[in-house]
Symmetry: C2
Subunit: 391 residues, 2 copies
């Protein structure tokens, strides 16, 4: 059992990275890949531990090559070498970026061609729920000159990242704990007559004070009895009696996200919204209970969906009822019909039932859980069964 | 002259977007493009005004099509429709994402094929300093079924975005003003014996309090007499007498970035670091003075480089001495030999001379300027000529 008060050590041990790479290599073997190369912040960080906010600058591409055997190789701009040298990585190859004429392409090609060739296939981030962080024209250039075929490596990469290590789960649990405490304290910080934007500013500052590194995601929206959408805002709208204020956050600790929301009744809650809130609270209970090793994401969806339908849902523009999370705010799998992923120990998932109960009036709940051999374990502090009131 | 105390109105008028689109269409005409389609947050925002932190979730692709004539079309997940409807966009087409089997590809294809065909070429974000935010396998699927050729639209898109409107410059100026004030106040907030991480936390909170929306980029590093790199950190390192603390920030207001750093002497500064600091202050002056309409980025680089070389630089792993900024932390052009971009009115640029003067001891200065018909105009409050001291 993890103590809520313990701050996990930042970073991960070299043996953690060795374990990740060994597991990745077993998966690459199954997928018939001689190597994968990754370019995106979460994938680079997963294999190297490299942490930077410099990803905000899209000027220079970065590459990490994970071969079928042996240690990963960093192929990166010179500007990043001093910091990469502080990680567990030993083989760091650099070029003096930016050089638009050849920004790492020939160095990456040489690195890939220096590896043993067995399957003749190299995996890259070409598929679902990830982006390739390099110019596509450079991918074409690489593909046209490389002896091996470049294929979609994302199914292999998701098989690696979808199941977390205990240390990763401790990180996610810590940021969930920070955000849970900040959410619980919010009614003491804001009042009727303040704006959505002001509420978000105060919550952002409080989450930073409590030890979060960053808050890349904090949409907020308010409306009478519910909200029309849950992914944008805040706006300057003033909170008025009868409103529901919805706030969601993906804040981070040492690279790992939480992703859960909370709802607040402004002044008080009407009977209809309270009824829907209760149904969603019960749907969340059902979703959590269904997320056991061996169940599918479809079954988790079904457990929630039944309750939501019975409560009179007229829609839900979210398209699913929860998903994975970790180094990204959202990751596979999705709780939706047809996803079919089998839930296994050490996955981290959101349980996110939501419904529109009248036009433009949506309420959405969300908790984060880790899957253990004994079943689901809450990482967030469970939302109160009665919606907290802001006065 | 913009008053430092005026907060620009959030968002932009419909006529501003009309102007952007008309200018984009003239550029598309020159580049021989029937349309461009964009997928990345800054490009979607540039044409629509759509603001969301939901970009943190990579699950669903979003598309905006800008045709050679007529208004742009949004092709987006249902979850985003209510908020997109609040922008100036009229034609919003949605699908119930996520649907991995066809996440918007056929809807995008139908939209593109509904446009008049003149050049048979569609521009996409395939090139420099931008990423395609959709699965590359879906780009392949689109390319293989589309009647028109998909080509690299990034030179056209950068021609559009590199020259700002007055309203965009007012946004950048505002976030520069906020960050300038927070940087100036920092010595009163931290002391010898605190950590880099603590300094960053205080500066982040102060910048939020002063009205920034977010701080996606705030690397910080300290070291005796200088720092080994400028893009990573903070770490838990304790600030000690003789250190230089380097902090950079890309904070945002209404989507627009500042990007400039400040240096602080811990306890006091040694003669050698003070000499280098003075040289870089003068190099910044020279870089600003050189950034006049009609000059090239090479000439701006040359003006700074001469002073840095004379001061005894042994290296600079940054690879350039400044760049564009706006909706991204870094944008084209680059002040580097061979870039060759001609500077024109309404560009916004960083002036960023830096040098390593002894192994592992680097000092880097940075200011942000807008180009006017009369020459460069500072958007940041000029760094003090003597390095501020933290005691």
């Amino acid at each position: 059992m993890i103590n809520d008060d313990v701050i996990p050590r930042r970073g991960f041990s070299p043996s953690e990275f060795e374990t990740r790479v060994e597991r990745a290599q077993r998966i690459m073997q199954r997928h018939g890949l001689d190597a994968i190369f990754v370019t995106s912040p979460p994938n680079v960080r997963y294999f190297t531990g490299f942490d930077s906010q410099f990803w905000e600058s899209p000027t220079r591409p970065w590459f990490v090559v994970v071969p079928l055997s042996g240690r990963p190789v960093a192929v990166i701009p010179e500007i990043g070498a001093p910091e990469m040298a502080l990680t567990w990585m030993e083989d760091i190859r650099t070029w003096p970026a930016p050089v638009p004429e050849d920004d790492g392409v020939s160095l990456l090609k040489a690195t890939l061609e220096g590896l043993p060739r067995r399957f003749g296939r190299i995996g890259a981030e070409l598929g679902r729920e990830m982006s390739l962080r390099m110019p596509v024209i450079d991918l074409f250039r690489l593909r046209d000159s490389l002896g091996s075929e470049i294929v979609d490596g994302s199914p292999a990469i998701w098989a690696m990242r979808m199941v977390k290590t205990d240390a990763e789960i401790a990180h996610i649990h810590h940021i969930c704990t920070i955000a849970s405490a900040a959410y619980a304290a919010l009614p003491g910080q804001i009042s009727i007559g303040e704006s959505e934007r002001e509420a978000v500013r105060k919550l952002r500052i409080d989450i930073a004070r409590r030890g979060a590194d960053a808050t890349p995601f904090m949409p907020a929206i308010s409306g009478p009895g519910g909200v029309p959408q849950i992914v944008c805002g805040p706006h300057d709208r003033i909170l008025e009696t009868g409103d529901i204020l919805f706030i969601d956050t993906g804040s981070t600790f040492d690279g790992y996200f939480c992703d859960f929301d909370r709802n607040y009744a402004i002044g008080g809650i009407c009977a209809e919204a309270a009824r829907v809130h209760e149904a969603l609270w019960l749907a969340t209970e059902a979703g959590i209970a269904a997320a056991v090793p061996g169940a599918t994401t479809d079954a988790v969806w079904q457990a929630m969906s039944r309750i939501i339908e019975d409560a009179g849902a007229i829609g839900n523009n979210v398209g699913r009822l929860g998903h994975g999370l970790g180094l990204q705010l959202t990751e596979p799998p999705s709780h939706r019909p047809g996803d079919g992923t089998v839930i296994v120990e050490n996955m981290v998932l959101t349980i996110e039932p939501g419904m529109e109960y009248a036009p433009g009036k949506m309420i959405v709940h969300e908790e984060n859980i880790a899957i253990t051999a004994d079943g689901p374990r809450l990482l967030t502090r469970r939302a109160p069964r009665e919606m907290p009131v802001i006065r």
